[in-house]
Subunit: 376 residues, 2 copies
Amino acid sequence: MPVGTVATVKGVPQGTLEELGVEILLANTYHLFLRPGTETIRKLGGLHRFMSWERSILTDSGGYQVFSLSDFRKVREEGVEFRSHLDGALHFLGPENATAAQIALGADIIMAFDECTEYPADRDHAAKSMEMTARWAGRCKKYFEEHKQEVPWGSAVGPRSSAVAGLAVANDKRPTTADQLLFGIVQGGMHADLRRESAERTVEIGFPGYAIGGLSVGEPRELTREMVEATLPHLPRDRPRHLMGVGTPEEIVEYTARGVDMMDCVLPTRAARHGLLYTSEGKLAIKNARFAQDEGPLDPRCGCRVCARYSRAYLRHLYSSGETLAAVLNTIHNLAFYLDTMRQVRQSIKLGDLEGFLSGVRSRSLNSSAQGEDPA
Amino acid sequence: MPVGTVATVKGVPQGTLEELGVEILLANTYHLFLRPGTETIRKLGGLHRFMSWERSILTDSGGYQVFSLSDFRKVREEGVEFRSHLDGALHFLGPENATAAQIALGADIIMAFDECTEYPADRDHAAKSMEMTARWAGRCKKYFEEHKQEVPWGSAVGPRSSAVAGLAVANDKRPTTADQLLFGIVQGGMHADLRRESAERTVEIGFPGYAIGGLSVGEPRELTREMVEATLPHLPRDRPRHLMGVGTPEEIVEYTARGVDMMDCVLPTRAARHGLLYTSEGKLAIKNARFAQDEGPLDPRCGCRVCARYSRAYLRHLYSSGETLAAVLNTIHNLAFYLDTMRQVRQSIKLGDLEGFLSGVRSRSLNSSAQGEDPA
């Protein structure tokens, strides 16, 4: 799912996201809590109405942002006191008010408030942190159960909930349509036994879906993969399993093959703004002088509106000139590439040949690396 | 016509411009001459193909930009030596190579290279400057006649030339479809007699259309209007008359009523990027706190895709958060407003009631000023 941090996928109008086939967006509770304020969005009917997006939305809890964006933070059993990255003002987020904020935003899927364990962290620290995340998960669920009817959209659920309804059907437990879904989050640092314990404790509390958090925080990729593999077997196969903050096109295919159902990442959109474009021939930096007179499309195998219309020479010109349209078009292409990748994954699962597809992606990734185009 | 300085209307994909009904864009020879270079664009088949825009394009000659953007410039009879605003490199533009550059770009309408007289300028200086512009106009026409077959698109003229073909029909002189149209430019500072002389000398050289340049350079608006009125009667009514760099929605209506056929201005796009939005109720600054919880559309009488989908509260949030989508959506709306204004002008001309329409615009403008919303 594309990331729309402050209720916008940077530079891309909602209608274009719909045309691209985006079914669900991630928005950040931390950012919206600070500006324009979750109560403001509640008054305006919730996030879907505020940003004019009828399809699904997932909000993270703010836990990750508090830990990565705030200069100052003080973690206590009640929650976290932190300073805003915008103006330094003091704020507090804990399990109850982070859940309240997400009910106010009214996303279809919301996340338990967790402590994102920093990397590296010794076993003792990671264990204490994981245990607090587990206690917070219990408090989030309790608050959610008591307040979930306070969503701003009440019973007026529109077509946006279709994806969530799909999940609910897969779960064989159809919620009342006015329900949001609260997912639990697994932590545990880079310790396989703590990951397992975290998964088991979170499942014991019981959620309609589970997220794996605290990865892609600076650790080597091999370690990320190990932690995902150490966690997945302990999360129920019949519940959606969301891997947070991952990853490259190759990685999202790899993790899907291992059983991950959902992922979000800023990579396609952020890389696009830096002129880094994902194509069927590997990653390319559009600022490269060799594209200055290249009349070909960004990716000859891509059918997106950018590849259908513009040349590499023009896209390079826009990027080199610092033009806003560079960010807009590059983002549209990268999202198209990611969404196409996942469509192919789903298709190969239907055809029973995910392994075949995976081999293709792996050899493409090797070729791309051999050409000096780091796929990351 | 919207301004697409470096072959892009900032932030707006070409497909969106088409949907808005944009029939012609202005691009800047000066900017494209410096980057990516007019020869690069010639090799890529010309500006239409480079930017994937099949409708009409007008390029200005670079005269205005050389005078307004360059820190250093040395004007001689041959032309102007100047330093690039990008890297300080020394360049030269004169009647011949400015025309060559515009033939290389291959726009449908190109402009003679002129000297934009600064404001204020005494009569003597303005006269000398105007006379040089007239001599340069002769050299531009000579160069153009000798080299006009060198356009990069050769005989492969696509649907983009329909608007120009329309002009040619209006002129009762259908050019070969491979021809660009070179317009002459009237200068003369703020001196009515020099404006008249400039118009007469330019008409004597003979062009298929005429532009009024050197206005909106810092003079009071009343003076702009006087100069336009002093010039128009001396330009043939059966040739398109283009007023360069003007203006507000009210001004474009006023000047149309006085006989101006074409105008270009950065105002709708630049103002949009600064959160200043033109509406049927006057101009508004979207950052204003009173819009923070305003669920209404930007302009209840506008049918553009922005007004159809998003609330003022959301647009304010995007702008306040410094989001790229603010510039994109605001620009789409302002262009829609300008294009609608001109559609209404054309319709009222057809109905024989331009005066009635004009009165409406004037009283709206007065109301808007009375509310403290400066229409500029």
